[in-house]
Symmetry: C2
Subunit: 338 residues, 2 copies
């Protein structure tokens, strides 16, 4: 059977949709007679007000949207899990859109979410996003915005992030304390702030411990995958570049580097130590297990949703919302690779 709508009832009773909606919601400007007629009919046909009617009533769609740059990516999946679990508790439904790191797609997707009247948007800015006008556009509407993962300079919204520089510093400091002095960095692409910040953390740790920075020990992983890690390690071996440790921008390049080391019978951690970043499931399951920085995605997702709910409450109470940067703690996870 087709879902009955307000429109169907309006048609059957030959009155306007608005009148039907108001009658069902007991608006005072609908006559008792009409109310009775509408309600009796609605009961007869087993009408259940759908979400549109609820929206008209509350001006809340009870939906939120998430725009992430990648799907099938352990860290982003953890964040989704955090947001969706929290949303479920509050009976919110969640649209997921994937920008594939594209600025154009991100822009269109945000417009579509606004057009769907979502109450909030959770965004991890795409690597290729060079302009924040479309994000400003959310801020100008009633929709709430929470930025996560990547820090941005936008001030009129809250963000849930980690301190990438500090976390990277901790990772490199850990290698130095293990006696390593020739530490390579497999960094991320040049533009994204988190990739820059991890690089800066690496440099700062070298500086603080009196180790010289050598740009020839820095390799770029544009896609942040295992193959890049493998290939960079192979280059290091082929070109006989002397290193005794690697700090990788993420776990996958670290795993790739480790596989290259294992194939070349180079001992981990004795000859070359490896530390990753993010604490993907894989890092605990490989042999030797990979030391890394735990970046708690699920917690970040939960926090982002809580921030959204709090700001929503403030808005309802007509109180001024204060935007903040919420920092989630990261932890050094020491395993066999260091």
């Amino acid at each position: 059977m087709k879902n009955l709508t307000l429109k169907d009832i309006a048609k059957a009773l030959d009155i306007s949709v608005t009148t039907v909606s108001k009658a069902l919601q007991n608006y005072p400007d609908v006559s008792p007679k009409t109310k009775k007629r509408v309600k009796e009919y609605a009961e007869k046909v087993n009408f259940k007000p759908n979400s549109f009617a609820a929206y008209l009533r509350t001006h809340e769609s009870k939906t939120v949207g998430i725009v992430i740059p990648r799907l099938n990516h352990y860290f982003f999946s953890s964040i989704l899990r955090g947001i969706i679990t929290e949303a479920e508790k509050h009976e919110y439904m969640t649209f997921i859109l994937c920008s594939d790191e594209s600025y154009e797609l991100e822009k269109i997707q945000i417009e579509r979410l606004i057009n769907k009247n979502v109450d909030g948007i959770f965004l991890s800015i795409a690597d290729k996003t060079h302009d924040l006008g479309h994000i400003q556009n959310i801020i100008d509407k009633e929709t709430s915005l929470v930025i996560f993962d990547k820090y941005s300079k936008l001030t009129a919204c809250s963000s849930v992030v980690i301190d990438d520089q500090k976390a990277a510093y901790t990772a490199v400091e850990h290698l130095i304390k293990k006696g390593k002095t020739k530490i390579a960095h497999f960094r991320g692409p040049l533009l994204p702030q988190n990739s820059i910040d991890r690089f800066l953390g690496y440099r700062k740790a070298l500086d603080d411990y009196g180790l010289e920075y050598d740009k020839d020990l820095v390799f770029i992983c544009d896609d942040i995958n295992d193959t890049e890690g493998y290939n960079h390690m192979q280059t290091i071996l082929d070109e006989k570049i002397e290193i005794d440790a690697i700090f990788a921008v993420a776990d996958l390049p670290a795993v790739g580097a480790m596989n290259c080391l294992l194939e070349n019978n180079i001992k981990i951690p004795e000859e070359v130590s490896v530390i990753g970043f993010s604490n993907w499931l894989i890092s605990s399951l490989i042999t030797p297990s990979l030391s890394t920085i735990d970046q708690p995605g699920e917690l970040m997702g939960r926090k982002a949703f809580q921030v959204f709910m709090n700001e929503r409450e403030m808005k309802k109470k007509k109180k001024k919302v204060e935007f903040k940067k919420y920092e989630i703690e990261t932890t050094l996870i020491e395993r066999d690779s260091t």
Copy 2:
């Protein structure tokens, strides 16, 4: 600035929401004068019809919903990627809900999706779902339903699945052809059909090749994780059960078993061969790399969306939709663990 709605325009012009909507859509039963008035005002205030208006016009919400039993799970993430990528191409937005393998939650989530007027629902039935009444409920509505991953006996909807029994047979046959005769099976829980089918494929391969089935070589992994695989392998060693190969219901228990073997200096594949199921990213990255059955999640997701679109087209043309079971091919991936 607040998003202007049809309601705002109706209020400003002191006419009904329905009239505004009809005027903007050029309905013949609205006078040219009113149409002009509404359109001029809409242009003046830069009104963009939102998705509700579009829904009233087309009776399509251009949204679909996915209910999966687990998030942050490589295989389900691949399916999401497939569905969302295909949905994006057709400008559909996707709600994601996670049932956490709970029947109750699955039921509520499906009701909420129907209430949101989604055009289609993609469902991987929860392990704990014992009754299909709520699914029948979708079929009785206009919403399209596509079942994926787990096969069900429902006949009034299409499904996109793999042939689990055949795929499991291929895996075990591979072990037998490598000369293995004492093959343990780390199986999934007792109820889900895919877990049963993989077990049946294991038994059939043993039968066909004249190997005796020994129930003491079958171990249950209720959560299908690496710890269970590790623990079962430890039990086999502790109890000195003689085996020369393992066929695991999924890659994670296989990886767990491999880690236990490595720790005990048991040679893989010479002493014990291991084969998994699903081809998670991890299976190619560990050492030795894990042989497995490739279960192409992304392809399954894409196919599911295409099936939905085709059925939708048929319905629009008032043609009878023929429900089918679409089988996605699986492939044996031979790596170092066998």
